[in-house]
């Protein structure tokens, strides 16, 4: 029981940053923009969150600053890609490289310092319920944000007019423009939202996952988040499932290695990637459904004729 709880708690911790970043990127891609800079925005969030929390002693300020830095990076991306219609792939890659370098520079003097973890939720009575209490009612603030985000994004995309407009833009920006929808404005907002989410994901890594700063601490999680969005065929609940599956298998394989199962450790380390891809491919078998959910103008620059 104790072990199961511990495993479940680590799974949540492993899944939350992926879920945060992927949910943000899902909104960005639903608007038809492909931001390959998730990794860069995430690591800027990580370093910014850590440094601000360390300097002020307030982890919530750290989280807020991480969001701000993520958005600043996203704004730069949006400026290039939306205002100047640069190539989205190249610009996204550049953003990642910029973020990694800049974060290493900023975090130089903070390597090895102890971070400040945001407090876990504690509701007297409820959080004390065995097993369920600590699992559901005793987590950190970012866990609750991540779950709320998924629900909020689902509601926004499929229940509101603005969400409909956003999906319409992602499907066909020329038609949207012809109808008088402000394509560029919507995309800016979506890209900024994606940046904020990536910043949150970064803050989770440097404040909750391992409360410290080290260079390259995102370790490719931005890329995994990007892949999750595609394999989840741009559907929020599948992103949630994918993030937790990935978290579960990566924690599971660690335990398997610890027990000493006779499988090469490299194969076990690859397991989360393989498992996630297989499962998401299997659930994406319905081609018609996939087509309907794929933003058709993804990655294409939009230049309105004036």
């Amino acid at each position: 029981m104790e072990l199961t709880l511990a495993i479940l708690l680590t799974i949540i911790t492993a899944a939350t940053p992926l879920l945060l970043a992927a949910t943000g990127e899902l909104v960005v891609e639903r608007s038809g923009v492909l931001n390959l800079g998730v990794e860069g925005m995430m690591i800027m969030g990580a370093v910014g969150g850590f440094v601000m929390a360390y300097l002020t002693g307030n982890p919530l300020l750290g989280i807020a600053f991480a969001v701000l830095l993520g958005m600043a990076m996203a704004l730069l991306f949006g400026f290039l890609v939306l205002t100047f219609a640069t190539n989205q792939y190249a610009t996204g890659l550049a953003l990642t490289i910029l973020g990694l370098g800049l974060a290493a520079l900023i975090g130089e003097g903070f390597v090895g310092r102890a971070g400040i973890r945001p407090p876990n939720l504690y509701i007297p009575g409820i959080s004390d319920i065995p097993f369920i209490g600590p699992l559901l009612f005793g987590r950190d603030v970012l866990f609750y944000i991540s779950i709320t985000l998924v629900a909020g994004v689902m509601w926004f995309l499929f229940r509101t007019r603005q969400g409909l407009t956003l999906r319409a833009i992602g499907d066909n920006h020329h038609s949207a423009h012809a109808l008088g929808i402000k394509v560029i404005r919507y995309r800016y907002l979506a890209v900024l939202f994606g940046g904020a989410c990536a910043g949150l994901a970064g803050a989770h890594l440097s404040l909750v996952y391992t409360p410290q700063w080290s260079e390259n601490m995102t370790a490719g999680r931005g890329w995994i988040a990007l892949a999750l969005v595609v394999f989840a065929s741009w559907r929020p609940l599948r992103v949630l499932a994918g993030a937790y599956l990935f978290g579960a298998v990566s924690i599971g394989q660690l335990h398997a290695q610890a027990i000493g199962i006779a499988i090469p450790s490299q194969a076990l380390s690859a397991l989360p990637y393989v498992a996630t891809i297989i499962v998401l491919v299997i659930i994406s078998q319905n081609r018609r459904l996939t087509m309907i959910n794929t933003p058709a103008s993804l990655g294409k620059s939009f230049v309105p004729d004036r």
């Binding site: 007019r161 409909l164 407009t165 999906r167 319409a168 499907d171 066909n172 020329h174 038609s175 949207a176 423009h177 012809a178 109808l179 008088g180 929808i181 081609r287 018609r288 087509m291 309907i292 959910n293 794929t294 933003p295 058709a296 004729d305 004036r306």
Partner: protein, 583 residues
């Protein structure tokens, strides 16, 4: 050439269409050119006139619009008045001082060739583009239309030519996107089904556009427009994707709307349609208004003359239904599964091409034309070699170069991207299809550029290709000139089997006539030609025998003399199963 003896042809319609040649034309134009006077009077005047000429009218027009700038109001009876609307893209004037007025409840045609500036004009009306100069009056009041939302607020609705629909969304969602944000989604779903039934355009709110046919998609566009309660509906080339029967249904809807007092601006280059549907027409050429007329009092060729600015080459063609000799190309019971979710499967298609004949295949886009073309050309291989026979040889498993080497040529639908490489100069584009056929183009593994340039010159003269430089990139040519180049490249060596998909799609009337005449002449010299086209007029003009393709089924070929638009239209909608499709 016509410009030199500029003379207005004024046609007075009240005394049974007499033709006058009037040397001093400016005065005769005066009445027509002053809409404030003449349009108000048109109802009283029994002789609305029609002009067509060249440059002098333009200068006259611009003087006229200068004088008029001082006036601040428009005729209050008009729903919409436009004065001197001008829009430039760089140094190119897409619209140059365009004037137009529309009365409530009228169906007004805006005519012009591809590139005459029609689309630019309607985009300005709908707020998608801003004019550089000119005034717009709506119900007599001067307005500016900064965006489409404002146009809709005024009461201007638009049905787009290239549908502005979102494939991934449902019908109701597609409509909701264009309506004011406050509209309740549930109410909208019921409203749209009511309105669509009322106008005979049945739609289901929950179906995905992705799953719908082109005709159904157009219904969504129209219903979306109607739900905005517009007073003016702009329709941009609405019939280009419809069967003749669907066109009739659409016209019934438009007449009903007109009888309810809604004005319709009907943009088209299909003259017969305009003649039966529209009350007035304004004709645009090179961005300027060059004439106005009452279409039903005109003939298609007199309107065409105004659109083009000169007489169009009359095609000479004697349909020749009797065939002699062995077929040069045969397709036998060919079935092919669909390539992907968007593709159409071919179902037991059979056809024979005989020397000296043009066989036409009619059909609405997406019914298997591309698939059929690809399997005949070798871009897709047939399931077995015997499925396609060329000069008696089984070629179903051969690639396109080998089929060319046997003596067939293939002219594909897409000018840029498939028939030519956009950024390559024309001489290099010559190599792309001729290298396997013409040994002079190669010296071992090397290219002979000189030969290609000589061929290009020959193509240029024979098909009258007009280009800005000696050897420009393919994309620098206009659609019509590029198409002439492509046809010229393929037919230069007198091929005996010619397969062509959409020979004159989006091509100006002059070039189209040239291309059609070339095909007819080749057939007269013994070539067997297959023309796949969505343009029924074109097929009736050049084909000897005709069939229709619907959802991958090909009907039997019939002599054009024994069929008509209605019969072909029915076949285009797939009603020929009973006839026993295959011989």
């Amino acid at each position: 050439m016509k410009r030199r003896h500029i003379s207005a042809i004024v046609r007075l319609t009240h005394n049974n269409a007499e033709m006058f040649q009037i040397p001093e034309r400016a005065s005769s134009c005066l009445d027509i050119r002053q809409p404030e006077k003449s349009f108000k009077k048109t109802s009283e005047l029994a002789n609305p006139a029609c002009t067509a000429d060249g440059e002098t009218t333009y200068s006259f027009l611009s003087n006229w619009s200068k004088n008029r700038r001082t006036m601040q109001t428009a005729n209050p009876d008009d729903l919409l008045t436009l004065r001197g609307l001008t829009k430039s893209f760089g140094s190119f004037k897409a619209n140059d001082g365009v004037d137009l007025s529309i009365r409530p409840g009228e169906i007004h045609a805006l005519l012009g060739e591809n590139g005459a500036g029609k689309s630019t004009f309607v985009k300005m009306l709908y707020g998608a583009l801003q004019p550089d100069a000119g005034e717009i009056f709506w119900r007599g009041k001067k307005v500016e239309i900064p965006n489409p939302a404002y146009a809709r607020e005024l009461g201007i609705g638009m049905v787009f030519q290239h549908f502005s629909l979102f494939e991934a969304l449902t019908v109701a969602e597609n409509i909701a996107v264009a309506l004011p944000p406050k509209t309740s989604f549930k109410k909208l779903s019921t409203d749209l089904e009511t309105v669509s039934r009322e106008y005979g355009l049945p739609l289901k709110a929950g179906s995905h556009v992705y799953d719908l046919s082109v005709g159904q998609r157009q219904r969504i566009e129209i219903v979306r427009c109607l739900l905005q309660q517009p007073d003016l509906i702009i329709m941009d080339e609405p019939t280009s994707v419809l069967t003749p029967q669907e066109v009739e249904e659409l016209f019934a809807v438009l007449r009903k709307l007109s009888s309810e007092g809604k004005a319709i601006l009907y943009i088209s280059h299909k003259l017969e349609e305009v003649r039966v549907l529209c009350e007035r027409a304004t004709i645009l050429r090179h961005g300027k208004v060059v004439g106005a007329c009452i279409p039903k009092d005109e003939t298609a060729s007199s309107i065409a003359r105004m659109m083009v600015g000169s007489d169009i080459h009359q095609i000479r063609h004697e349909p020749n239904a009797a065939h002699h000799g062995e077929p040069l190309l045969s397709v036998r019971n060919l079935s092919l599964p669909a390539r992907d979710t968007f593709g159409t499967p071919l179902r037991e298609v059979s056809l024979d091409l005989y020397p000296g004949q043009i066989a036409g295949i009619a059909g609405i886009a997406g019914n298997g034309q591309t698939e059929l073309f690809d399997v005949i050309s070798g871009e897709t291989l047939a399931p077995s070699a015997e499925d396609v026979m060329l000069f008696g040889q089984p070629v179903g498993k051969l690639g396109i170069s080998k089929r060319r080497a046997i003596g067939a040529v293939f002219i594909s639908e897409e000018r840029l991207g498939q028939a030519t490489v956009a950024t390559m100069p024309l001489s290099e584009n010559v190599f792309l299809t001729r290298h396997s056929v013409n040994p002079d183009l190669k010296a071992g593994p090397l290219l002979r550029r000189g030969t290609a340039k000589a061929l290009l010159d020959k193509i240029t003269t024979e098909l009258d290709v007009r280009k800005s430089a000696a050897d420009p990139a393919a994309q620098a040519l206009s659609g019509g000139n590029l198409q002439k180049f492509i046809v010229g490249r393929e037919v230069l060596e007198d091929p005996k089997v010619i397969i062509v998909n959409q020979p004159t799609w989006g091509v100006d009337a002059g070039s189209a006539a040239r291309i059609r005449q070339t095909l007819i002449d080749l057939a007269a010299n013994g070539a067997a030609i297959l023309v796949i086209s969505q343009d029924l007029d074109e097929l009736f003009e050049i084909a000897d025998t005709m069939a229709a393709i619907a959802e991958g089924n090909l009907s039997k070929f019939e002599s054009v003399a024994k069929t008509n638009r209605n019969a072909i239209g029915l076949k285009m909608s797939g009603i020929f199963a009973a006839e026993g499709t295959h011989p």
